[in-house]
């Protein structure tokens, strides 16, 4: 997952003012990309999308992903309103006899022909104080 938005903090702002869209996008990314428990001082911070990894790719899992994203943004970035959250499942079929990923152990690689790998494409339509925000995330499951 890549994002190019720069991190900016509200701490340096001399006066209380609303966060800019850019800042809000950065915070949403931070929430969605942080598995809960990764920050020991605030273990509940984050979005538990990592729990979907390894689960069967069903419609229910897709629904669950949508709920997790919406609730995490609602809790941690309340300034942002989730207008739409589309989660799509993209299947990455394994070509039998293809070259093996060097990072995978042989035993696991031998199982790949019998399964499928998928990616969740989440398209969020968000609305901040300054107008709409669009964010694309790709999370492997």
């Amino acid at each position: 997952m890549r994002y190019s938005s720069s991190l900016s903090t509200a701490l340096s702002r001399p006066l209380r003012r609303p966060a800019t869209n850019e800042e809000l996008v950065a915070r949403v990314r931070l929430v969605l990309e942080t598995p809960p428990g990764h920050m020991p001082w605030l273990p509940e911070l984050g979005c538990a999308l990592d729990r979907l990894a390894g689960e069967p790719m069903t419609e229910a899992a897709v629904e669950r992903a949508s709920e997790l994203v919406t609730s995490a943004i609602g809790r941690w970035v309340p300034e942002v309103q989730v207008v739409r959250c589309d989660v799509r499942l993209r299947m990455d079929h394994v070509v039998p006899g293809g070259s093996r990923d060097q990072n995978l152990p042989i035993a696991e690689a031998s199982l790949l022909p019998f399964s499928a790998q998928g990616t969740l494409d989440i398209e969020l339509e968000l609305r901040g104080p300054d107008g709409p925000l669009v964010l694309d995330l790709n999370l492997p499951t």
Binding site: A10, L11, R16, W41, V77
Partner: protein, 808 residues
């Protein structure tokens, strides 16, 4: 200097973030001081605070370790575990002396059984030699207000018969069947007997109703038996045998030749008015009568009066015959022999009869409120009888006299030798436990004695036979041979931790124990090793370092007194045995020690054992935290450096030593720097003695030089200061054992004669710094040596003296 525990270095995350908020609010007035938790900047700050808190938690452990190292540098050590002490009572199969071998473990071992909360606890005897007798306690009595009371005695046989506690006093009936017999031989027995009968009738006709006289004739032998019969007086007063109601008055006059009448009491019967039970009757309306007022009607008079438990005095017995003889002059010519017999009823003490037979009754009861204990010896022998008195804690042991009863049942009038062995305070079996003082005595017993009567001048809580002191210091038989590879200190781990070392015994002696117990503990053999090359014995870790807490022995390292047993490389040390302790777990309750073990042919063989009191004084080894709390408790300064000692000594000496110079020299200062002693160049007697003392003084000894800064300290003041400083050292030694002794010497104030400028602070002890001629109070003027003066210092600087005419 006082070292207090360092404050905790733990940093709190919440406090750090609060500080950030405060700083932010100062730097950015009106800024966002409660940022969103997802704000990247705030996340970094929170993470930093978390890292700081986590690191500080780990770093906080460092000062503890550093402090521990400092403790070791200073000589502060963890206090090892202390063995618990108690007193056992044992029943030997036969009399004998339990003697501890000095160089091998004692054959007798005593155990408290394993329970749900503790392991097997072993005790070993502490006393080098104890005489144990096959004996048991027969009874306890109390002599009070001229009357003998029974205090009970053991109710069971076996080892229970070796301990007894006084019960509620009960009237002794031992003298109820006391008889006085007057026997004489007459050439005219028939006539004499008639005269005697007439005299008896004459006496009975008088008011002497308490006295029963019975004349008898056996061929030419005439016998008159007299005894006291209180009921007879009542029978004479009330012939029908039942009280009429109201006052009862009866005759109670003395015989002619005496003023003595037998003291009596109203019986302690439930049908009698409570105010009269056990009381003495009132004097009657006429002389020679007694009266019991307001008695209910129709009470049987049998047993209404009881005799006070005391024998008839000898003069009263003599007066009976004198009175008989006075009635008839012919009887006075009859030569009679008076004898006393007492038929002891069952359950009554027999020793009063033995005392009456031996004519020592009056000696025994010479002091009021005396407790008597009768001990029966089951065999004869020469061993002494070990007795322990149980007394209230903090009480003073009462004087004890002991008398032997011979084979003929006669109590010997000569008191036997009684020696105090030791005293110890231990908790009894009550809940909550209270401390009792156990005072052990050794009673000398003649070889043919069959019994012993102890007369204890006062009350006791109990008495035990064959009692001896034991400690939870079981022997560990090791047998290993430790090869020494080099001459550097070499640690050897023994099989157990918590050893009993001389240091442990010394610390245990600091408990409130009697001098007798301290002496016994000091004499207890603690360990036995031998050097294989020479066969030399190493006793009680002498010349070896031992860490009692860790159970570690260090060869080629000096013991706490500085003595070093040099063991050459290639040699071996055989570790035969040593002692360990189980600490506070060995503070077992009373009655817990019930098992004894010894080899089959040991003498004396022990049949049973018990501990009538609980064990006490056991202590677990100190934890590091407890050690630091002991050494660094707030408000209790521990002198460590020489300057600390100077401060402490000044404080201890007080105003009497106001203005004195007090200088303390530690071992390092004395030995690492060249030093000299005043006076110079020729040392006086005191300086020579001081030099000799310093030669043998180890690192645990400080040198204190003190005195006024203008004159020499007088001898009386020096003696006082020595005592005061010795007391201070002993006091500090209990908490911080690095310094154990102090040499106190007189300070010499010197005057430096120089024309140069002196910038050194005075008093100055260093001769290097002040070259010139120094003068002491006795007028000696000497060139200051280039060394440290231990007992003298320059206290003032004056210009050089000018010789007359020098300026001309």
């Amino acid at each position: 200097m006082r070292l207090s525990p360092p404050p905790s270095l733990k940093l709190d995350r919440a406090a750090l973030l609060q500080e950030v908020r405060e700083r932010l609010s100062r730097r950015l007035p009106g800024g966002n001081v409660e940022p969103d938790p997802t704000d990247p900047g705030w996340l970094i700050l929170e993470e930093s605070a978390w890292i700081a808190e986590t690191l500080s938690l780990r770093l906080d452990a460092w000062p503890f370790a550093a402090l521990r190292q400092l403790l070791h540098l200073m000589g502060g050590q963890l206090r090892p575990a202390h063995p618990s002490l108690t007193v056992l009572v044992t029943q030997p199969g036969h009399s004998g002396t339990m003697t501890l071998p000095p160089d091998r473990p004692a054959p007798w071992r005593f155990f408290a059984g394993q329970t749900e909360v503790r392991d097997l606890v072993e005790f070993c005897p502490v006393e080098p030699s104890v005489s144990l007798r096959a004996a048991h306690i027969e009874n306890l009595c109390l002599w009070k207000n001229g009357e003998l009371w029974k205090l009970g005695g053991p109710t069971e046989e076996g080892i229970a018969a070796l301990t007894a506690s006084p019960s509620a006093p009960e009237r002794a009936a031992v003298f109820d069947r006391e008889r006085i017999e007057f026997t004489g031989v007459s050439t005219t027995p028939e006539d004499t007997f008639k005269r005697l009968e007439a005299a008896v009738k004459e006496i009975h006709a008088r008011k002497v109703d308490w006295l029963h006289l019975e004349p008898e004739r056996d061929e030419n032998r005439i016998r008159l038996t007299a005894w006291i019969e209180p009921d007879q007086a009542l029978r004479n007063a009330i012939p029908d045998g039942l009280t009429p109601g109201g006052d009862v008055e009866f005759e109670w006059a003395p015989v002619d030749e005496s003023t003595w009448v037998p003291p009596v009491r109203v019986a302690d019967r439930p049908d009698l008015p409570s105010e009269w039970r056990g009381q003495q009757p009132m004097a009657g309306r006429s002389e020679g009568t007694l009266r019991i007022p307001n008695l209910p009607a129709k009470l049987s008079i049998e047993g209404l009066l009881t005799r006070v438990a005391a024998p008839m005095p000898g003069h009263a017995a003599e007066a009976i015959w004198k009175t008989v003889a006075a009635i008839d002059g012919d009887l006075s010519r009859l030569s009679v022999r008076a004898s006393r017999s007492v038929d002891v009823p069952d359950g009554e003490p027999s020793w009063p009869v033995a005392a009456l037979r031996g004519g020592s009754w009056n000696t025994l009861v010479q002091r009021d409120r005396t407790t008597f204990v009768q001990v029966r010896l089951e065999d004869t022998g020469t061993g002494r009888l070990r007795v322990a008195l149980v007394l209230p804690a903090m009480s003073k042991p009462p004087p004890v006299r002991a008398y032997a009863i011979d084979a003929a049942g006669v109590l010997l009038a000569a008191a036997q030798q009684v020696e105090s062995a030791w005293s110890i305070s231990l908790p009894d079996g009550a809940t909550p436990p209270r401390l009792e003082l156990i005072h052990a005595l050794d009673v000398n017993v003649p070889p043919d004695a069959r019994g012993v009567v102890l007369a204890i001048e006062g009350d006791i809580r109990g008495i035990w036979l064959n009692s001896f002191l034991v400690a939870n210091a079981p022997v560990v038989t090791d047998g290993r041979s430790v090869a020494v590879r080099s001459s550097v200190p070499e640690p050897v781990s023994l099989l157990f931790q918590d050893l009993v070392s001389p240091e442990v015994v010394e610390q245990l002696s600091g408990q409130p124990l009697s001098p007798g117990v301290r002496q016994l503990l000091k004499r207890l053999p603690l360990a036995h090793f031998t050097l294989e090359s020479t066969g030399e014995r190493i006793k009680d870790y002498k010349g070896l370092a031992v860490d009692a807490s860790l159970g570690e022995l260090t060869l080629n390292a000096p013991d706490p007194s500085g003595e070093l047993h040099n063991i050459q490389p290639g040699d071996s040390v055989t570790v035969h045995w040593y002692r360990r302790t189980q600490g506070v777990i060995a503070d077992v309750e009373s009655g817990a020690v019930a098992y004894v073990e010894h080899p089959p042919r040991v003498s004396p063989a022990l049949v049973a054992v018990t501990n009538p009191v609980g064990a006490f004084y056991g202590q677990d080894r100190e934890t590091e935290q407890q050690c630091m709390e002991r050494l660094f408790t707030r408000g209790s300064a521990v002198p460590v450096l020489a300057a600390d000692w100077e401060h402490a000594i000044r404080q201890h000496l007080g105003a009497r030593a106001g203005g004195w110079v007090v200088r303390v020299w530690t071992h390092a200062e004395r030995t690492l720097v060249p030093h000299a002693l005043w006076p110079l160049p020729d040392a006086d007697e005191d300086a020579l003695e001081l030099e000799a003392q310093l030669q043998t003084a180890g690192p645990d000894c400080i040198l204190v030089a003190l005195g006024p800064d203008q004159a020499l300290l007088v001898e009386a003041e020096l003696t006082w200061a020595r005592h005061a400083i010795s007391a201070l050292v002993q006091q500090v030694r209990r908490r911080f054992p690095a310094i154990r002794d102090a040499i106190v010497t007189r300070f010499w104030p010197l005057t430096l004669r120089t024309d140069g400028t002196v910038e050194e602070l005075l008093p100055c002890f260093d001769g290097h710094l002040l070259p010139g001629m120094a003068e002491d109070p006795q007028g000696r003027e000497v060139q200051l040596p280039g060394a440290l003066l231990l007992n003298a210092a320059v206290v003032q600087v004056l210009p050089k003296r000018r010789q007359l005419g020098a300026a001309v």
